[in-house]
């Protein structure tokens, strides 16, 4: 199936021309990176900086970033402030193909693009991000995303959720359906809850926010719960799995969320459904039955397909969460590993850092951090004694400083990745 698709893609004229010049050992090594998010764009840049010819394949002409998009949902930031172009990468020497990768042939080490071009590679990096599953929650299909936006990939969905909140009458009920692990940005739903609660408390104070959760615990939980009770008393109600929080069906037209115990008819529903690695990962054969991509924790090379590396949210990174910070850190380590492999050396053991800031209100920030290295179980593990969350009793000036750091971090990662 895969092979036939590949040959069909290869039958067009430009593809045939490229097929005449396969990668040979003597030629300068070529790397193809699929995905222009924080993982893919960072990796492509660093590969080029190391003198490795690299093509970045990304169908969108610009990238809309998820970090800080919860501020957009809450009406505190413009969606366009989330947009980053690829001119910085072009100027740095990355060849940018504004195409989708349609077919991956791991044996021939070639990838076909939606315009029929076929690129040969020595190493392929897949950084495709997530697919929001529309087959995992009964009733939540493509049409349902219009009535009950997920807003879990920044873009029109983000604007739609914001518009629904703005159109809601005071006294309404907003509900969020929050999935089980793993999913993109573990603290993200709770930051969103905080900022939506801020919007409601300042604009629609008789309204309520119901959090229907498929889990019994979550990232930075005590910090979020403290913030909700202090800043938004009477507005936020969190219903964990054990109290019937898991949404098992949605009825989009009626705006009903069904749990094992109850039917919740609400005014605005934000359904964050289960996720998996984006489709190109399955096409390339690097996703396992979990839907995610197991990798070697030192080289990020796929456990399933040699020559293909997977980084960012699509990959299984052990203790390291699916975050933009983590994706950027993995991308640099992956580029270094590829440089070593292409030079015939073993990759050095990476030391990775993650820091995730969340805003519990505008100007009030909390964080979780971790330092990671490969462990004996073949996964990235947190170094004992490192990491953890902001202290529960941190002084207000530290919360303000962490909000400043959040903003400074976003500017920094955007500059490093796209600037």
């Amino acid at each position: 199936m895969r092979r036939r698709g590949f040959l069909r893609g290869a039958a067009s004229a430009p593809a045939a021309a490229l097929l005449g010049t396969p990668a040979i050992a003597q030629a300068a090594p070529r790397v193809v990176v699929v995905g222009g998010g924080f993982a893919g764009a960072t990796c492509a840049r660093r590969l080029v900086a190391a003198g490795i010819a690299t093509t970045l394949v990304e169908p969108a002409a610009s990238y809309l970033a998820c970090p800080f998009s919860n501020l957009v949902v809450a009406g505190l930031r413009d969606l366009e402030d989330q947009r980053f172009g690829f001119d910085g990468l072009r100027a740095a020497g990355v060849a940018v193909a504004t195409q989708s990768a349609t077919v991956v042939d791991p044996l021939a080490r070639r990838v076909a693009l939606s315009d029929g071009i076929v690129l040969a590679y020595d190493r392929l990096v897949l950084a495709p991000g997530i697919e929001v599953r529309l087959d995992a929650l009964p009733g939540y299909d493509a049409a349902a995303t219009e009535a009950m936006p997920h807003a879990w990939r920044a873009g029109p969905q983000t604007s739609l959720l914001r518009a629904q909140l703005e159109a809601m009458e005071d006294g309404g009920v907003v509900a969020m359906s929050i999935p089980a692990n793993p999913y993109r940005c573990p603290p993200g739903p709770y930051e969103r809850a905080s900022l939506v609660a801020h919007y409601l408390s300042t604009r629609k104070p008789r309204s309520r926010l119901l959090l229907l959760d498929a889990k019994d615990g979550f990232s930075k939980q005590r910090l979020f719960e403290r913030a909700w009770s202090e800043l938004y008393p009477g507005i936020v109600e969190w219903v964990p799995l054990s109290r019937g929080g898991r949404v098992i069906e949605v009825q989009a037209r009626e705006r009903v969320l069904v749990t094992e115990f109850e039917r919740h008819r609400v005014d605005v529903a934000n359904v964050i459904p289960p996720q998996r690695a984006a489709p190109v990962a399955r096409e390339a054969g690097v996703a396992d039955r979990s839907g995610w991509c197991p990798v070697d924790p030192a080289s990020f090379e796929s456990r399933l397909q040699p020559g293909i590396h997977v980084i960012g949210d699509a990959a299984v990174m052990g203790a390291m969460p699916k975050s933009a910070f983590a994706a950027n850190a993995q991308a640099k380590a992956c580029a270094d590993a590829i440089g070593a492999l292409l030079a015939g050396r073993a990759p050095a053991e990476p030391r990775l850092i993650n820091t995730c800031y969340s805003l519990v209100a505008p100007g009030t920030g909390i964080s979780v951090a971790g330092v990671y290295r490969p462990a004996a179980n073949g996964l990235l593990a947190e170094i004992p004694g490192s990491g953890g969350t902001s202290p529960l009793d941190a002084p207000p000036e530290d919360r303000r400083l962490e909000a400043s750091h959040a903003e400074a971090w976003f500017a920094a990662i955007a500059a490093e990745t796209y600037g």
Binding site: D336, R351, L352, G370, S386, G387, E402, I413
Partner: protein, 114 residues
């Protein structure tokens, strides 16, 4: 250069020689890490630091590290690790490294930008 007024070349700083001596003293127990840093080889974790500490950024609440005196960087990192120096997040990060690894990072980022 615009946008980086606080970043002076290491060698041009007053007291640079003293700082270099102090830095050398800090490295005394880790000649390998020091040599690696001198050679421009990135020690473990260095590539992750630039997720926040980007060279040539405008001034933000996140302080610059590139081209700063090695002794100052090493003292700060050691203080974060031991808890003697107040931090929001760097204490949690510094604890993921040995003192020797922190000194190697300090030496690496102290080098003048190429």
């Amino acid at each position: 250069m615009e946008g980086r007024p606080h970043r002076r070349p290491f060698a041009a700083r007053p007291g640079a020689a003293a700082a270099r001596l102090l830095a050398a003293a800090l490295w005394c127990c880790t000649p390998v890490a020091a040599l690696a840093a001198e050679a421009g080889e990135a020690p473990p974790g260095a590539s992750a630091c630039t997720g926040c500490h980007v060279p040539a950024m405008r001034a933000t609440s996140i302080p610059p590290i590139h081209g700063q005196p090695a002794a100052e960087l090493a003292a700060a990192l050691r203080g974060f690790r031991s808890g003697e120096r107040h931090a929001t997040v760097m204490d949690r990060i510094a604890k993921g490294f040995t003192v020797e690894e922190l000194d190697a990072l300090a030496a690496f980022f102290a080098r003048p930008a190429p």
